[in-house]
């Protein structure tokens, strides 16, 4: 990361009446970065980007861009542009007029506006014939591209995205995620994207910020968040992971409050009194044949099998609760549901998350 941050959000608090939507947020964004903010509904992610572009005002704290404070500037003076969830394309204008709108505001001559709009249509892989089309004649994916073209025409320092893909069907969303990542690479702009899907964030982002109840839970690369989540909340955001509560005994060996897991002596050392959870990803848990060993073993009964396409997911009922196991489709088990099985995984596959005794991170 650069020595001096491009965007610096310092101690930002936003209150609506007595409700605190954002609580002393700090975030630095580098120039040209693709940062995604992930969080459940009501976590404050939309509020944060509305403060960033200036639609709402901060209650406390400062936002700076290139060392200049922008939180006191009105929205129409800030070099930021938002792609709205609804896209906010103007229905009474054509595709071309929509793209040219920010240029028209800036007083660019009609001929130059048109040239730029057609360039942008090409950049977004829309045919030139779309220039005169009505917004209502465009499909969902095409509207997405028009909204992006309009944002690029404005040529802001930062483009902010408010879940613009959430209304689209799965396949189109997957295509556009890749296009957006590609567009980011080609334009070199700073993108700030918000979504409630960590999966979506992982496809596109340089860094991911996980938000919870108006605060950041973890800000890191996709890889870091995937393999070393800082809390149970972050871990559970990625879908099905196996979490086993752990308490450190006085002799430094683990105790399993939810049910016994056999650990090879010395496989896991925990400080006396340490409280937390052990995370084991479903794809790193194996079915052990008789005689096979692993650092951690757990026996149970196979209760369900789900085909996920390229992978198969199994549910195993054990003394420590239901455990999820995933493996490639090619290695599908021959054993039927109801068969007793032994599960095993190794020290390298686990990640420990420390928690306070009451379960909070």
């Amino acid at each position: 990361m650069a020595a001096k941050p491009f965007v610096q959000i310092e101690n930002v608090t936003k209150r609506f009446g007595r409700f605190t939507a954002l609580d002393r947020i700090n975030l630095d964004i580098s120039e040209g970065e693709f940062l995604t903010i992930v969080g459940p509904s009501g976590s404050g992610k939309s509020t944060l980007i509305r403060l960033l572009v200036g639609i709402d005002d901060v209650t406390e704290g400062t936002i700076s861009l290139n060392g200049t404070r922008i939180d006191t500037m009105p929205a129409n003076k800030r070099p930021t542009c938002m792609v709205f969830q609804s896209l906010a394309l103007f229905p009474h204008m054509t595709v071309g007029q929509n793209i040219e709108f920010p240029l028209k505001l800036r007083g660019v001559a009609p001929a130059d506006r048109r040239t730029r709009a057609i360039e942008l249509l090409a950049l977004l892989r829309l045919p030139e014939s779309y220039y005169g089309k009505r917004i209502s004649q465009c499909s969902g994916g095409e509207r997405q591209r028009v909204a992006l073209a309009r944002a690029l025409a404005f040529d802001p320092q930062i483009i902010v995205f408010d879940e613009p893909l959430s209304a689209l069907d799965y396949r189109l969303r997957k295509t556009l995620e890749k296009e957006l990542k590609d567009l980011h690479a080609r334009t070199g702009k700073t993108f700030v994207y918000i979504t409630h899907s960590l999966e979506e964030a992982m496809v596109m982002s340089d860094r991911i910020a996980i938000m919870r109840s108006g605060r950041f839970e973890q800000i890191a690369t996709a890889e870091e968040i995937y393999s070393r989540p800082i809390s149970r909340f972050v871990a559970s955001f990625m879908g099905e992971v196996n979490l086993f509560p752990v308490i450190g005994r006085a002799d430094g060996t683990p105790d399993w409050p939810a049910g016994a897991i056999s650990a090879r002596p010395g496989a896991l050392a925990v400080a006396p009194g340490w409280t937390g959870v052990l995370m084991a990803r479903p794809e790193l848990v194996r079915f052990l044949d008789a005689g096979q060993a692993a650092d951690f073993t757990l026996s149970g009964t196979l209760t369900a099998e789900y085909a996920l396409g390229s992978r198969i997911q199994y549910s195993v009922d054990t003394a420590a609760g239901l455990v999820t196991v995933e493996r490639p489709f090619e290695t599908r088990l021959t054993a039927p549901v109801g068969t007793p099985v032994t599960l095993g995984w190794d020290r390298a596959a686990v990640h420990l998350i420390a928690e306070a005794a009451d379960g909070t991170a």
Binding site: A75, Q85, F90, S136
Partner: protein, 264 residues
């Protein structure tokens, strides 16, 4: 849509015919009355004449009446469109403390019996020392019509995404530019239909005008006084001409709205 059986279809046509005749038979009979040579309408009409129509069109009294009615209706239309536009924005775009209450209170005049409202306004005008004229009638009409235009425009304002205005502002548009480039064009169909309503309601209004025009007379007020004393078929003739005028206005308005509507 569901396919209907032959008998249901016939029943539906009958129903339609009954409703239409109930609505339009009175108008048609007024039309006949205006072209009858006889002073009082009786069927079958023995002799047709256009003399009453000609009299209605050429009479200087009628010209003056039409002018007064037009002055009132045009003023009411313009003012109620402006008031309705800003009122609708206040409802649909801003959160403020007594918004809900205000929204209900502003509609009350619509439910008020107009004669009572007219009388109340007359009392007010005389209490304030204002001599009633066509100008006071404009105020009286506005009390009743502005809530209606506000309602019509508000329906349109509620239906459009506030993100459109936010997006325009975000891209550098000033408040005035947002109003001119986004809000106004998108609300325009609502504003035009509100204007049509305002004009027609003001043009045809009798109870409010009766109390508040003073010595000035509007067309409905004059028609009423002539019906009470001194009826001639010139009255239905004027009525018919007025209906034709209104119909043309509505037609122009509908064409205008069709032309402006974003195809969404």
């Amino acid at each position: 849509m569901r396919q209907v059986s032959r008998s249901t279809r016939i029943a539906l046509y009958l129903y339609g015919a009954v409703i239409l005749s109930l609505l339009y038979l009175p108008l048609v009979s007024v039309g006949f009355a205006s072209v009858s040579k006889a002073r009082y309408l009786s069927f079958p009409i023995k002799r047709y004449t256009s003399e009453w129509m000609t009299a209605a069109v050429t009479s200087p009294t009628v010209h003056e009446l039409v002018l007064t009615s037009l002055k009132i209706a045009v003023s009411v239309t313009i003012l109620s469109m402006v008031i309705g536009f800003f009122g609708a924005l206040a409802f649909a775009r801003f959160q403020w403390r007594y918004r809900g209450l205000f929204q209900k209170i502003i509609l009350l005049p619509i439910f008020f019996p107009q004669t009572v409202l007219g009388l109340a306004l007359l009392i007010w005008f005389s209490a304030l020392g204002i001599t009633p004229s066509w100008k006071t009638a404009v105020v009286a009409h506005l009390v009743w019509i502005a809530p209606i235009t506000t309602l019509i425009i508000a329906i349109r304002a509620y239906a459009f995404d506030p993100a459109l205005e936010e997006a325009a502002r975000d891209m550098g548009a000033s408040t005035l530019t947002v109003l001119r480039e986004i809000t106004l064009p998108l609300l325009m169909p609502g504003i035009v239909s509100a204007g049509l309503f305002a004009f027609l309601l003001s043009w045809g209004n009798f109870p409010l005008s009766l109390f508040t025009t003073g010595v000035d007379a509007t067309l409905p007020k004059w028609l009423y006084s002539r019906m009470v004393s001194g009826y001639t078929p010139q009255i239905p003739a004027l009525g018919v001409l007025s209906v034709i005028g209104s119909t043309l206005l509505v037609a122009v308005g509908l064409v205008l709205m069709r032309w402006m509507r974003p195809r969404d």
